[in-house]
């Protein structure tokens, strides 16, 4: 009980500090507006919103305002993706792909206003569920994580990269793993963290400090998006918005069980390292379809289907912040961008993070979701107008934003060359269906993995049993091996045979 009261008191003081500062509101309104706009415009993503704002706000304003800007954009963008899904049948972000399945049929049936209103409410409640989980679990995990040492950290980083590679692959899982390995390889460039031995620098002094995170993020997420999006495309007619957007309380109460269930699923999926909002949306949609009484109506205009995915993708945000803050392992691609912002502010997320920062993050999340809720209900028609801007108009501006943001973080032209190089590589990887998120997570976790893996061996004098002699490390090693084995055909066949035997 004391623990809960202490938590609430800490949260209260962080919240009141934010509320009495007038600048908070300016940052909140601007960032949530920008976030919803980024989410609403098909071709721009939540990751891109957070990445671009990292370039602008990352290290130029005090950390509090920087966090408001980035988290506000994150919350806004995940929600904003629902607009084109419902009104155009084009998901604004990957996270809203499942939303289009039921949102568009609802809008076509003249229930667009109702769908948007409920989506806004569900996204708001979903974000709050994720934030509550963040407030509670982050502390429990922080207490546990005090016992996590180098072997566990190394295995956890590896697990994050492998899991992200496994779950984010559209095509073959092996491509996701290769993508993660490319990211890890990129993190090896520069002076190594223990002996300061130069690696793959090719006698270029710029390479001694390794690849900077922000240009890599910009290159990986923005440049391919611009290269792929610059094509002539007739946007479909935006479905006319009929009915009132503000939902009635009775309806919200009726769907509360669906919203709560999806919120919990979204938070859980978000807490898995490296797995993003799109997976959360689809998992929740799938669960909803199998447990709901109107499961057969999913895909034909079911409000439950719509709320299943929309609640989960917003709840995923809070979940994704748990591994980021506790272990320094991003829970989703936008969280990876957020980690970049932490890094350029010299904050190392993980067991040693200042608890005050966690409380501030929770308070900002609550305020950001409230701002999103109000904006979603009362300024929806502005975002519907924004939907009609062609991609070829805003993508060139995004390129300029990306360039100036990337330049200003490091202050060097070489960062722009790096951004362009990574961008071209990421474009071709996209073309071949290699997921990009594991690459970025690999870049971010690479140095942690390198340092902790070698430190583990150093303290054990090269004895590899250090990875099995500690209980948590043994469990993590088992998970890593199981994840790899689950993709080996022979192991798969054996597992299926065992399953059949068990059934018979």
């Amino acid at each position: 009980m004391d623990f809960v009261l202490t938590q609430l008191a800490g949260f209260g003081s962080a919240m009141s500090a934010l509320i009495i500062d007038p600048l908070t509101y300016i940052y909140l309104i601007v960032s949530v507006f920008l976030g919803i706009t980024f989410g609403a415009l098909p071709g721009l993503t939540a990751t891109l919103a957070v990445t671009i704002l990292t370039g602008f706000f990352g290290n130029k304003v005090p950390l509090d305002y920087s966090l408001i800007a980035l988290l506000g954009a994150y919350v806004g963008a995940i929600y904003g993706g629902s607009y084109p899904s419902i009104l155009l049948n084009i998901p604004g972000t990957a996270a809203s792909a499942a939303t289009a399945m039921d949102g568009y049929p609802l809008a076509k049936a003249g229930r667009g206003g109702e769908a948007l209103g409920l989506t806004t409410t569900a996204s708001f409640i979903g974000t709050l569920i994720g934030t509550l989980a963040l407030l509670i679990f982050v502390w429990l995990l922080l207490l546990l994580s005090q016992n996590i040492a180098s072997p566990e950290k190394a295995l956890l980083a590896l697990f994050g990269i492998l899991l992200s590679g496994t779950l984010m692959s559209e095509d073959l899982v092996v491509k996701g793993w290769i993508s993660g390995l490319i990211g890890l390889a990129m993190a090896m460039v520069g002076l190594d963290p223990l002996l300061s031995e130069p690696r793959y620098t090719f006698d270029w002094s710029y390479m001694l400090s390794g690849f900077q995170v922000v240009p890599v993020l910009m290159g990986a997420f923005a440049v391919p998006q611009i290269m792929d999006g610059m094509r002539h495309m007739e946007l479909g007619q935006v479905t006319e918005l009929k009915g009132r957007i503000v939902p009635n309380l009775r309806q919200v109460r009726r769907y509360l069980p669906t919203i709560s269930r999806s919120g919990v699923i979204g938070t859980g999926v978000g807490a898995l390292p490296g797995v993003g909002e799109d997976v959360a949306g689809w998992v929740s949609y799938g669960v909803g379809k199998s447990v709901s009484r109107e499961g057969d109506k999913f895909g034909k205009g079911s409000l439950e289907g719509l709320l299943s995915s929309e609640t989960a993708n917003n709840a995923c945000i809070g979940g994704a912040l748990i591994p980021l803050l506790v272990l320094g392992i991003p829970g989703s691609p936008p969280a990876a961008a957020l980690m970049g912002a932490f890094k350029i502010n010299n904050i190392i997320p993980g067991p040693t993070i200042d608890p005050e920062i966690i409380l501030r993050v929770v308070a900002i999340m609550v305020l950001a979701s409230l701002t999103m809720f109000v904006m979603g209900l009362f300024t929806a028609r502005i975002f519907i107008k924004i939907l009609q801007i062609p991609k070829v108009v805003f993508l060139p501006i995004v390129m300029v934003l990306t360039t100036i943001g990337s330049f200003s973080v490091g202050g060097g032209i070489n960062d722009l060359y790096l951004m362009l190089g990574v961008g071209f590589v990421a474009y071709f990887m996209n073309l071949q269906k290699f997921p990009i998120a594991p690459l970025v997570i690999g870049v971010i976790l690479g140095s942690l993995f390198d340092e902790t893996f070698r430190r583990s061996l150093l303290i054990s004098n090269g004895d590899l049993s250090v990875f099995v002699s500690r209980p948590v490390a043994a469990i993590l090693l088992g998970l890593n091996l199981a994840l790899i084995a689950s993709q080996i055909p022979l192991a798969k066949r054996m597992f299926q045979r065992l399953k059949r035997k068990a059934v018979s």
Partner: protein, 247 residues
């Protein structure tokens, strides 16, 4: 769907070849890093388990194995057979032109223009070229836009390659002239099109706002501070405007 898979496997075949080559190259480079406790200038470096090469060695070995697995999957699915066919490449002429034009524009913008030409001029040219070139998907416009950026970028790059010459203004003037020319051409083609009509305003306002916000709002470094237009803005900001509220 079948064609998509066939294309993907053919591309995987090429991809796996590239990845195998890269893995082998970097494995070879990794052996430059002391691994077995070598001596350097009489000082013994670390043990094998603490060597800076141990993790990269694992990464590139794993990448080599996975690349070979990808190659086997691609070959089994017929990727090697169709690798040089139309299906295998998976790009038609129109897509190749689109990608080529964008690649040229981005390359010359980042490599040639941003370091050497005023940021407002180079970004205005970029916005005009990309929007005008790709708005209707017409190949002629794409080629014209790519040429406009390529000429300015190549001139700046070749004429002022070393950093010591980046402050020169002749490339700024050339880029400004070509930007104006492209804008006029776009305006003539507009014929009541709202996007093309608004294009000159967007191309001027967006970079000016962004660069001013970054330089004076966030007080950050911006590319090419001594550029033709930005140098004037900066001068008047500090000499004419700022004394109004901070004498």
């Amino acid at each position: 769907m079948q064609d998509d898979i066939a294309t993907l496997r053919a591309r995987d075949f090429w991809g796996s070849l590239v990845l195998t080559g890269l893995s082998l190259f970097f494995l070879w480079r990794t052996f430059d890093i002391p691994l077995w406790g070598e001596n350097r200038a009489g000082v013994s470096s670390a043990q094998w388990y603490n060597s800076a090469a141990i993790v990269p060695l694992g990464i590139f070995s794993a990448m080599l194995v996975l690349s070979l697995i990808l190659m086997v999957i691609a070959v089994r699915a017929g990727g090697a057979r169709s690798a040089l066919s139309r299906i295998g490449i998976g790009w038609d002429g129109a897509e190749a032109l689109r990608f080529g034009a964008i690649a040229v524009i981005l390359f010359f913008y980042i490599i040639g223009l941003v370091p050497r030409v005023d940021f407002i001029i180079s970004s205005g040219l970029l916005i005009t070229a990309l929007t005008f070139g790709f708005y209707r998907g017409e190949p002629r416009r794409m080629i014209l836009s790519a040429l406009a950026v390529a000429i300015c970028g190549a001139y700046a790059l070749l004429r002022h390659l070393p950093q010591a010459e980046w402050r020169a203004h002749d490339d700024d003037v050339l880029a400004l002239g070509i930007w104006l020319g492209l804008t006029l051409w776009a305006a003539m083609q507009a014929k009541g099109d709202r996007v093309l009509k608004a294009l000159p305003v967007i191309a001027v306002v967006a970079p000016v706002l962004l660069v001013c916000a970054m330089a004076f709002g966030f007080r950050q470094n911006v590319p090419n501070r001594g550029g033709l237009i930005f140098a004037q803005i900066e001068y008047h900001y500090y000499v004419t405007l700022r004394p109004l509220w901070r004498p």
